[in-house]
């Protein structure tokens, strides 16, 4: 159905059904000379969409509505906690989007999206009209399932910081790490699936362990208390911890791997520097007593810590939740080809907030979805057919030691209306040559710059 037919139809709908509502009727019968795309959120998804739309269809006006005047990248930001990166390193200007690509910015917070009226409202009292709105709101945090912490503000007041969305929280976590007494214990609680940056909590564990080791702590420990029995990067990360931090593969994990793979693990005596209490071991955290720094688990007992990094379950970002774009799962269902919301017309959701089949919630995935959407929006707004998508994701991670890297790399296609993963091998093989890990670390560092430039540069 062409855009014009659709608009005509909507207009008819507005006229015949929504009598008294001017919303649908106000949709233009004919497209303006320059269609306008409003982008809610200036993170990886929103920024990539805006930039690529201006490359693919410069005649389309693109406005990003984003409260922050500069971006702090969450990807790679655990390295701020260990001092390998600074806040300056992860802070990115919007100047290139503005000056090189002609993206417009409104630094304000979106409140209500009027889907039928094709306009949105901001805290600052502005009203922005659009032909299509792209909602890329990232994530919000759900404290309802944990005893001892009421909400994000309560957790922060008690010194329990997630540090999962960049910001000054990273410096608080850095101070907490530095305050761990010699040979103390840090606890990391990864969220349940699905969540942003699947290898991230595990990379962070290794980074903390490495930092403590380099400080001279022989017996400091980072304990991961997990509700899950596996995570992205999988045996490449577990193998690295085995090689670097005296980690022993739990018996409960043996069923996940072949004997040949398990044979690559050395058996260490004594306490590991990184330990993973997986879901099958009862590692799910039920209660956090911040005052006494105690973490209770479902079946693995109670742990005393000097630092607790609790990353709560995640949901779609606030704007999506408040505007009925999310379903009961807390995430936003979309058409896998156009990322148009299945709940509201002419609104597209990309990045962490959307439900994108087998694609993870990662920066690269958001970037890949945004580019596909840029192609589709060009067709939807200027004419032509939507295109057959292909998506990619690459997540690099460090084992902890910054010379030891790893990754997951996937290609995704649409099969029977679902986004599915089509590659076979996604990690380094379990018997990879040692130089592959150092090369991966080199690529990990290069990726931070290259990817940032693809999104914002």
């Amino acid at each position: 159905m062409s855009k014009m037919n659709r608009r005509t139809f909507l207009k008819a709908l507005g006229a015949t059904v929504a009598a008294g509502s001017t919303a649908a009727a106000s949709a233009p019968l004919f497209a303006k000379k320059s269609p306008h795309v409003a982008v809610v959120g200036g993170g990886v998804g929103g920024a990539t969409l805006a930039k690529y739309l201006k490359i693919y269809a410069p005649s389309i006006d693109v406005t990003i509505i984003e409260p922050k005047t500069e971006y702090q990248r969450p990807y790679g930001s655990s390295e701020v906690i260990t001092g390998h990166e600074t806040m300056d390193d992860i802070t990115i200007s919007y100047d290139n989007l503005r000056n090189t690509y002609g993206v417009k910015f409104i630094h304000d917070t979106v409140t209500e999206i009027d889907f039928t009226g094709h306009k949105l409202h901001t805290v600052g009292g502005q009203t922005v009209s659009y032909d299509r709105v792209v909602v890329a709101p990232g994530i919000s945090f759900d404290y309802s399932q944990i005893e001892g912490l009421d909400n994000e503000a309560d957790a922060r007041a008690k010194g329990i910081i997630h540090g999962w969305d960049a910001g000054e929280d990273l410096l608080t976590l850095k101070a907490q790490l530095e305050a761990i007494p010699k040979n103390g214990t840090a606890i990391i609680v990864p969220p349940p699936n699905p969540y942003r940056c699947p290898p991230g909590p595990y990379e962070r564990a290794g980074l903390l362990a490495q930092w403590l080791e380099e400080r001279g702590d022989d017996a400091a420990k980072v304990i991961i208390l997990d509700s899950k029995n596996g995570f992205t990067t999988d045996f490449t990360m577990l193998q690295a911890w085995n090689r670097l931090y005296k980690f022993n593969l739990p018996e409960e994990a043996h069923g996940l791997y072949t004997e040949e793979q398990i044979a690559t693990f050395e058996r260490h005596e004594g306490e590991p520097k990184v330990d993973w209490i997986m879901g099958a071991m009862g590692g799910k955290v039920t209660r956090i007593d911040a005052e006494n720094m105690i973490v209770e688990t479902e079946g693995a007992g109670t742990f005393k810590a000097d630092m607790i990094n609790f990353i709560p379950p995640l949901k779609a970002g606030r704007v999506a939740l408040e505007n009925d774009l999310a379903d009961e799962s807390g995430w936003c269902p979309v058409d896998p080809i156009t990322f148009e919301s299945t709940r509201h017309a002419d609104a597209h959701v990309i990045g962490d907030a959307c439900i994108a089949g087998a694609m993870p919630k990662s920066g690269y995935a958001a970037n890949s979805q945004a580019k596909v959407l840029a192609v589709q929006l060009k067709a939807l707004l200027l004419g032509g057919d939507v295109q057959t998508p292909v998506f990619q994701n690459t997540c690099y991670a460090l084992a902890g030691n910054t010379d030891y890297g790893m990754f997951v790399a996937d290609v995704f296609r649409i099969v029977d209306g679902e986004i599915i993963r089509v590659d076979e091998q996604r990690y380094l093989p379990f018997d990879a040559e040692p130089y592959m890990y150092s090369m991966s670390a080199t690529y990990q560092q290069a990726w931070m710059k290259a990817f940032t430039k693809d999104v914002f540069g």
């Binding site: 490359i55 017309a345 057919d385 057959t388 998508p389 292909v390 380094l428 290069a446 990726w447």
Partner: protein
């Protein structure tokens, strides 16, 4: 293709269901374009394959045969790689050729304005 959308909309309108609707699945044109496939490279190799001072190889302006041969060597393992082998194997010969055409058509040097418009 998008005409499938009429029915849910019309149905909901008839039911007085207001602004919510269930989108019918979009049906795209067949075949992945060079642009569509090539943009997946850019997250590492730079927008339109333009990248300077990086561990990643620039792809803009790369000779078509060189691109295809390199991807074939990644795919069959004759050129060792970390992740390019599995990625190369996930694209068809036609897609690799389309990507090669896309990058070969771009000037090797990044234009002064920073990018090439693909209108």
């Amino acid at each position: 293709m998008r005409s499938t959308r009429i029915f849910p909309l019309a149905l909901l309108a008839a039911l007085g269901a207001g602004s919510t609707f269930t989108a019918g699945a979009s049906e795209p044109s067949a075949g992945v374009t060079g642009q569509m496939a090539a943009q997946t490279c850019a997250g590492c190799h730079g927008t339109q394959g333009y990248i300077e001072n990086s561990a990643y190889v620039p792809l803009a302006g790369m000779d078509k045969e060189r691109f295809i041969t390199t991807m074939e060597m990644f795919a069959d393992g004759s050129r060792p790689s970390t992740l390019m082998g599995p990625l190369a194997r996930a694209f068809s010969d036609e897609e690799i050729e389309a990507m090669a055409d896309y990058f070969a058509a771009l000037p090797k040097e990044r234009p002064a304005k920073g990018f090439v418009s693909e209108e």
